[in-house]
């Protein structure tokens, strides 16, 4: 293969890796770190601009004039820590064992095919997490039951609307609205000792924890643009959640 074709192939692979990392919820410095590792394993240097929606990367050899610049759009984000972990491990192995381009390609394909937890397992786990939250905020077992059911229904709505390709903030708003309406019935029928804890915790499964934590690590490492983008995304999510809760409170005239 001639060297310019190989360069294009390499830059495409590196762009693919960084896009997968961004989608899975890695912070900017981790994406940079992984790109540097893979590039050094293949004896290249890479410089890139990473943003929320697209990545621009230039790949070059240090002692020649050969270089290649490409841009890749990033698909919508879906947090997946297994992929982050697997790519991190692959990058170490690639550096230590001097993997070839096709070896890395094969490994990335395998990583991308990894399955997620089944939807039902996620639903049960997150609903249990919701009732755990309720316990943390002083709810009793009845409140925890209400929190479980409302989280379950809210997340179900969130998952089902995913297939219909609605706007993500609209989905968050509807999930928050419906989860809080279900939990508000607990207040109306006085289920348990602190029914308001169930209402407060029913919407927490939507909280943008990863976006906010990543935004701070990005800001602390001077990746200001990405930090601001992530913070704004987190803020929009919080606003959508708060709006859903707000409407429920207004509907049920809680005070």
């Amino acid at each position: 293969m001639d060297s310019s074709k190989e360069l294009i192939k390499t830059v495409d692979l590196l762009l693919d890796i960084s896009s997968v990392l961004m989608v899975s919820g890695a912070n900017t410095s981790r994406v940079n770190l992984s790109i540097d590792r893979f590039a050094s394993a293949l004896n290249f240097k890479a410089s890139c601009f990473i943003s929320h929606k697209s990545i621009i990367m230039t790949l070059y050899e240090e002692h020649t004039t050969l270089s290649c610049t490409r841009v890749k759009n990033i698909p919508p984000h879906a947090i997946n820590f297994s992929i982050i972990s697997a790519i991190s491990k692959a990058s170490w192995n690639a550096v230590e064992e001097r993997w070839t381009l096709s070896q890395i390609e094969r490994e990335i394909e395998i990583i991308k095919k990894q399955t997620r937890y089944p939807k039902l397992v996620v639903l049960m786990a997150v609903s249990l997490a919701g009732s755990g939250f309720c316990k943390i905020f002083n709810g009793d077992y009845f409140n925890m039951g209400v929190a479980f059911i409302s989280t379950f229904i809210g997340l179900l709505i969130f998952q089902l609307t995913h297939k219909e390709k609605f706007n993500v903030y609209l989905r968050i708003y509807f999930a928050s609205l419906i989860a809080s309406i279900v939990a508000a019935t607990g207040i109306i029928f006085h289920i348990g000792e602190n029914p308001q804890t169930a209402l407060a915790t029913s919407i927490l499964f939507l909280v943008p924890g990863v976006a906010l934590i990543n935004s701070f690590t990005d800001l602390l490492e001077n990746n200001i643009i990405n930090g601001m983008v992530r913070f704004t995304t987190g803020l929009m999510t919080v606003l959508a959640i708060a709006l859903g809760l707000f409407i429920t409170m207004l509907l049920f005239q809680l005070n």
């Binding site: 770190l33 540097d36 997490a129 490492e221 409170m249």
Partner: protein, 162 residues
């Protein structure tokens, strides 16, 4: 004494479950499930023990999350996963959901329902107290989790250099 300890342990177990639930939502690797649960348990236990000894919730949250961030480093080397994967989920149950709820509730009452001016003053007090507590807890979570990770990254890059 024993009942307090049991209560603390119960809350800690539930915060471990909450951490694990979010971990599964974030699709953590299967081999980190136990670690995430234990870290969530430890974080909850530290936080609620500190609150039991009348330490303010903001400081208690910060200490709990910071401890998690610190002990993530040796664990990351031991189980061969990057620290982000298992130190973010245990921080999620610290999120100040109840303060957020109280803030939204007070804002709504202030805007749409309350006419009595003394009660409106109380509501302003509630908005500020709950709102700022929520804000500072969020700040302490993010700083507590990212500070140890920044310190770790330094050593990680060094290894690549040589």
């Amino acid at each position: 004494m024993l009942t307090t300890l049991l209560n603390l342990l119960e809350v800690a177990v539930w915060s471990g479950i909450a951490a694990l639930g979010f971990g599964i939502l974030f699709n953590i690797p299967r081999s980190t499930i136990f670690t995430v649960f234990m870290l969530g348990f430890a974080a909850g236990f530290i936080k609620f023990t500190l609150i039991h000894f009348h330490i303010h919730i903001v400081l208690a949250t910060f200490i709990a999350v910071f401890v998690i961030g610190i002990i993530c480093m040796p664990i990351a080397h031991k189980i061969h996963h990057p620290p982000v994967v298992f130190c973010i989920p245990p921080a999620i149950p610290m999120i100040p959901g109840y303060f957020a709820y109280e803030t939204v509730l007070s804002v709504m009452n202030f805007l749409f329902m309350e006419d009595n001016s003394t009660k409106r003053a109380d509501l302003i007090d509630a908005i500020f107290t709950n709102g700022f507590t929520m804000f500072f807890i969020l700040i302490s979570i993010t700083i507590g989790i990212s500070l140890p990770m920044l310190l770790l990254r330094k050593s990680s890059v060094k290894k690549l250099g040589d």
